[in-house]
């Protein structure tokens, strides 16, 4: 049996008296796309931050690619990457300069070639010489994704990767993600509010509510379990506490 790419066991995170994560456990198998769903403040971003080693849990265990992320995160970080709406790239630098800096930080071999490959893949060729601050939301999302793919990560953590994008840009981003995941057999964990995206992309879904896992399974299994046609309906049922 293969080691899961991500293992979370009894994970708890408290800020003073507020419980952000309440003893959650889940695993993400290698080569799959898994969604973390949940309303605002459900604990999605907190979970991703702990998986990246940016945030320390109050208790519990987190392993990514077999590495304990609380104590030995540097052993895994070179093989991971992420995007988040909470971070940005320096606006005055051009897209190529920003990507070049991150390629250096990830010690990517043949940086120029890799950036050109990603520029071709993500339709960024015309943007490479533009300052990052001058890009539209959709263009910024594509650049953020290029940054996240620079080191050909085995584990990709995506926090709302298509938030605030128009349907065309959203569809293109989904396509890029799917191509990358299939081409590299990478493991993708994405936090999203977009149920359609989750239905189309994900093999597994974990739905968080108030820091706990309220439901988990394949999208199809969840639809059957709740007797619903769409994940959005399942999500609303769980959010409002409607019984299965």
């Amino acid at each position: 049996m293969r080691t899961p790419a991500i293992e979370v066991k009894d994970l708890r995170k408290c800020y003073d008296k507020v419980i952000a994560l309440d003893d959650i456990s889940f695993t993400v198998e290698q080569g799959t796309i898994t969604a973390l769903l949940g309303g605002n403040g459900a604990g999605k971003t907190t979970t991703l931050a702990i998986l990246l080693g940016l945030l320390l849990p109050s208790s519990g265990q987190v392993r990514v690619l077999g590495v304990d992320m609380v104590h030995h995160r540097y052993q895994a970080l070179a093989r991971m990457n992420f995007t988040s709406p909470y971070v940005d790239l320096p606006h005055r630098l051009t897209v190529r300069e920003n990507l070049d800096i991150y390629a250096r930080l990830y010690n990517v071999a043949r940086r120029r070639q890799r950036i050109d490959e990603l520029a071709a893949l993500l339709d960024l060729k015309d943007l490479l010489q533009r300052p990052s601050g001058s890009l539209s939301s959709g263009q910024k999302t594509r650049v953020a994704l290029a940054k996240a793919l620079l080191n050909q990560p085995q584990v990709l953590l995506l926090d709302e990767p298509t938030a605030s994008l128009d349907p065309d840009s959203t569809e293109r981003i989904r396509g890029y993600l799917l191509d990358y995941q299939r081409g590299s057999n990478a493991t993708v964990l994405l936090a999203s509010h977009n149920m359609l995206e989750v239905e189309r992309l994900c093999d597994q879904v974990h739905i968080l509510k108030q820091g706990r896992i309220a439901a988990q399974g394949t999208p199809q299994a969840l639809l059957e379990q709740y007797g619903r046609q769409t994940l959005e309906q399942v999500f609303i049922d769980i959010a409002r506490g409607t019984p299965e």
């Binding site: 931050a49 080693g53 940016l54 990457n81 988040s84 909470y86 005055r92 070049d100 250096r104």
Partner: protein, 268 residues
């Protein structure tokens, strides 16, 4: 060996990024030299005036110009460290940076290299102008200048690390500390007057600062013509201790940031 090369590349990445930032913004470049130059011109005029009316000042050419240039080494060194950190916060890049394989010590090395660069450019320009305007060359101090320079540089780094720790802990609302904190030590560092001019109860506090020993040493050199090894040794010893303490404070603030999710949610 592979690990060392990887570390060097990551440090280089951050230095290059700062150079990109400078290249793309001429106000940033001008700002580097603006205040050191204005300060130097002001104190040069005061020096010229006082030299005609004070034997003490007259016996040491450019006493105040040397003092203000060395003070700017300290100020620029700490500002260099703190501002580069603030640039990361302003561009919301900190969270992204700390999930790369970049180690904290590599990040600190890059900050210090950038700080050195900023200080050399800023103070170097003012020092060059002092030669043209007042025919005073700080470089005439010779090798002792290097001792003064590096001691002030290291002290500036220590203060800069503490400023970073405070901003990391309290958010951008504390960013003013990057410019203000260092001025708390200016009155007791004896920049323009000897430490004996301070009230007796303040003098031991003043002598606990490496900067005080540098400025006392500078006056010994300019007025007495001798390099004070005593002041030099005190400055080095104190700097070693403060740099260690500042590093510990920064590590503590990193730990706190990882407990409170501050790397992704830094704000007011």
């Amino acid at each position: 060996m592979k690990t060392v090369i990887a570390s060097v590349e990551r440090i280089t990445a951050l230095v290059i990024r700062y150079l990109y930032l400078l290249r793309g913004s001429w106000p940033r470049v001008i700002e580097l030299a603006y205040w050191p130059t204005v300060q130097m011109i002001l104190w040069g005029l005061i020096n010229t005036f006082l030299a005609r009316h004070s034997d003490w000042v007259a016996q040491a050419a450019g006493l105040f110009i040397g003092a203000v240039l060395l003070w700017d080494v300290l100020f620029r060194a700490q500002l260099g460290v703190a501002v580069v950190f603030l640039e990361e916060m302003w561009s919301r890049n900190l969270g992204q940076l700390f999930v790369t394989p970049l180690r904290p010590w590599e990040w600190l090395t890059a900050l210090m290299m950038i700080s050195l660069l900023r200080t050399l450019v800023g103070v170097g320009a003012a020092a060059g102008l002092a030669i043209l305007l007042y025919r005073y060359s700080i470089f005439a101090m010779g090798f002792p200048l290097l001792a003064f320079f590096f001691n002030l540089l290291v002290m500036g780094w220590s203060i800069g690390l503490v400023v970073i720790a405070l901003i990391l802990r309290y958010g951008l609302g504390a960013e003013g500390l990057a410019w203000a904190l260092i001025f708390a030590i200016a009155p007791i560092s004896g920049i323009y007057y000897p430490v004996s001019a301070l009230p007796p109860w303040v003098q031991p506090i003043a002598l606990a600062l490496p900067s005080t020993h540098v400025f006392e040493g500078m006056r010994d050199l300019l007025i007495g013509g001798e390099f004070s090894w005593l002041h030099f040794n005190w400055a080095v010893g104190l700097n070693g201790m403060y740099l260690l303490l500042a590093g510990m404070v920064l590590l503590w603030s990193f730990h706190t940031a990882r407990q409170r999710n501050l790397f992704l949610q830094l704000g007011e």
